[in-house]
Symmetry: C2
């Protein structure tokens, strides 16, 4: 139990004792549910988002814009972006970011599949939506170079978070907010 | 002492007892320093930033770009932007944001002085750098409309803070980050 994310020794003990107290049938149901989830949920063959079908709901949805692909590091980012209800295009999940220190290069990610998909599908725009860490920046720029021959490549804006206060923003964020300024409509 | 910002009853008591313990000369020096600061620090006649001179250091600095004016709500924002070392132009401090609920309209702020300054000085660009609250947005759009006849008006970028994670960004920020996306260089 301790190996689960966010579960320390105390929580692990509490979880273990809770399970031991429940009726046997209930515990078996939990174990079965875990096995089933692992068996049934795989990756979408098109976008590599988590999916219980060979092709995920988003990729199969004909009402979504097929001409825009949003590239994210992780399935969690797809869920976060879906919550905004602003984005109507498709996704591509890389499965991580390029991080030579951790031995993760483009080959460990779904970069090749993305390039193939973009060169075949010829979308109008690819939006890079990767968190602005050093590794994230590297990934954005690397993939941007690869995709530019095929399509327009954009990236999400960095700057002040909405509701954030100028005074409390860190210097790098403020500098990016200044640099990324846009003309008022 | 309790009326000072961030000072609760306990801190106030600690401050008061500390002062009572110090030698009389030291206490008088503190009191005098407070009076002097209040007497000497006024507002810059040009930009309304805090200044001990009639015109502040930034406005007098001939090495700074005279063709860009950055409009902020508060002197604290000037200090925050100066820390980035990215901005080399001048400022204009509004003294707050438009907030009809609190009885603050453009007349309570230095809006008129800003319009006069821009119409006379004809800067190449005015950057609106106001925190993205409802009142901040109103202020940005209102002043933007006033200044557009004279110059190009831009605003700082809103989006993911640098080092922030996509997954933890709130929905409105993510939506703004998507909306404000830019083409990769």
């Amino acid at each position: 139990m301790q190996r689960l994310p966010g579960v320390g020794p105390k929580s692990a003990q509490r979880l273990a004792l809770h399970i031991l107290k429940r009726p046997e049938a209930e515990v078996e149901a939990l174990a079965q549910a875990i096995i089933d989830a692992k068996k049934q949920v795989g990756l979408c063959q098109v976008c590599y988002h988590l999916s219980s079908e060979p092709v995920c709901d988003i990729c199969r949805n004909i009402n979504r814009d097929n001409t825009t692909i949003c590239v994210v590091a992780d399935s969690r980012d797809v869920i976060a972006l879906e919550k905004t209800r602003e984005y109507k295009g498709k996704y591509h999940v890389l499965g991580g970011v390029i991080s030579p220190m951790d031995g993760i290069g483009p080959e460990q990610l779904t970069v090749q599949a993305l390039v193939r998909r973009v060169s075949q599908q010829q979308p109008k725009e690819v939006i890079m939506a990767i968190s602005p860490s050093v590794e994230g920046e590297t990934t954005t720029l690397y993939i941007g170079q690869l995709l530019k021959p095929f399509t327009k490549v954009t990236r999400i804006a960095f700057g002040l978070p909405v509701g954030g206060d100028l005074e409390y923003a860190d210097e790098v964020t403020l500098a990016r907010a200044l640099e990324g300024r846009r003309e008022l409509d």
